[in-house]
Amino acid sequence: MNSWPTSPSKTLPPFVEEGGVSYCTADATDPVEAWIQLMEVIEALCPQWPRREPMLGHTFLL
């Protein structure tokens, strides 16, 4: 069953899947503002963040 609500705008993101499915903003939307709004929701749902893996590796060519 597809319980996903019908969105009035295709620019609205799907909810949360592995930190949020990426989506492209419409040209008129400030993408950083969109990100801030998304993070408000994510932080409300997950106030304690999982620990990040350190940036390890040996192949730094850039």
Partner: protein
Amino acid sequence: MPRIAEQIREALSMFAQCKTPPALIGGLALAVHKVVRGTQDVDFLVDATDADRLHDLLLGVGYRCIHRSEDAANYLRGDEGIDFLYAHRPRSQQLLAQASEHDTGLGRMRVVSAEGLIGFKLQAYVNNPKRTRDIEDIRSLLRANRGSLNMDEVRSYFGLFGREELLNELMADVA
């Protein structure tokens, strides 16, 4: 305002003391290039000559250094992390120099180009192939910026890491 936004604002204020203002890379930089996803990643490209100055500033506001090499560093304060890649090779120094400035809700910040971001995402994936998220980010960047990317530059990064075939697969996906 989410907590991560306050963390970024604090970092941007510290960057005023750097010789060269660092540029945003990583998950949040995706947003500036039209790809929005949730991320706790706060990553910046920093001139290597600013590394010591920035290290002292970060310790001064409560971060502890959990890893530092000539290429990268990771800092942690509670559950807030901030990572840096050090620009000391010609390509990264050029990407830092060419980073564009953006006025955002988080303040004025410099952001690496979409092509450069693809290069750094590829480098992260090569260093840790379990990070398939980076490949998904590259695919999203290719799709969102189709028509405006300098594909010669993008190809040069895939060539640098010997992953030309991967780029062909990704381009077939977004075509």
